[in-house]
């Protein structure tokens, strides 16, 4: 068990096997290598909370909740990086934020996770299948 005193959710205990390892961190946050997912009760939203920084948590959601026919082609180098062998193990999340009156999802930098190996990486797409900021 890992104990984390988060700034939003107070003291949390997380099982080691629930921790997702981001070997290269997230873009701009290379030192945050461990995250875990908190389901937010009664909503499809989740929080992606950093283990090593109590202040850092992203609101994330499956892109299919915003775009029904969402698809993502991953380079082999990305698949190798998270040791993805079976497509069924792949989970994709996009971060969301508020910008004035708009709600924005980051489709250009989706977070991909091998849910079997619990390894993840943020992919930067040259041309996202959906526009960079999908306004919900």
């Amino acid at each position: 068990m890992i104990k984390i005193n988060t700034s939003r959710f107070g003291m949390l205990e997380v099982k080691e096997e629930k921790v997702i390892h981001f070997a290269s961190g997230l873009v701009g946050l290379p030192d945050l290598n461990r995250f875990f997912i908190i389901d937010h009760k009664d909503t499809p939203l989740k929080w992606l909370q950093a283990v090593d920084d109590p202040d850092i948590a992203f609101i994330v959601v499956s892109p299919t909740l915003i775009v029904e026919d969402y698809s993502l082609n991953l380079d082999n180098s990305v698949k190798q990086f998270i040791k993805l062998e079976n497509k069924d193990d792949l989970a994709v999340l996009v971060t969301m934020r508020v910008d004035g009156e708009d709600v924005i999802a980051n489709f250009q930098g989706p977070i991909v996770i091998n849910s079997r190996a619990m390894m993840g990486v943020q992919v930067v797409l040259d041309r996202p299948e959906k526009t960079y900021q999908e306004v919900v």
């Binding site: 202040d55 930098g109 919900v136």
Partner: protein, 76 residues
């Protein structure tokens, strides 16, 4: 900044594992080939900066923003 002059098909080594090759020079664009270990994330700088800034903005939201986002998704 170290500045080197290279021609098409010439390369630069960064340490032992990374090779950068000038593939083609055409007008003011240069095609560059990069060989690097798969663990090394390579980005176009402007995209890197865009996603980095997006991450910074998205990493510190609180419940009122959560409520807005949840409402927007519900209305989909």
């Amino acid at each position: 900044m170290l500045v080197l002059t290279r021609k098409s098909d010439e390369s630069i080594k960064l340490g032992d594992d990374i090779t950068i090759t000038i593939v083609e020079v055409k007008g003011n664009s240069v095609r560059i080939g990069i060989e690097a270990p798969s663990g090394l994330r390579i980005y176009r700088k402007e995209l890197y900066e865009k996603i980095r800034d997006e991450n910074f903005r998205a990493s510190n939201l609180f419940m009122d923003e959560f409520t807005k986002i949840n409402k927007a998704l519900r209305s989909k």
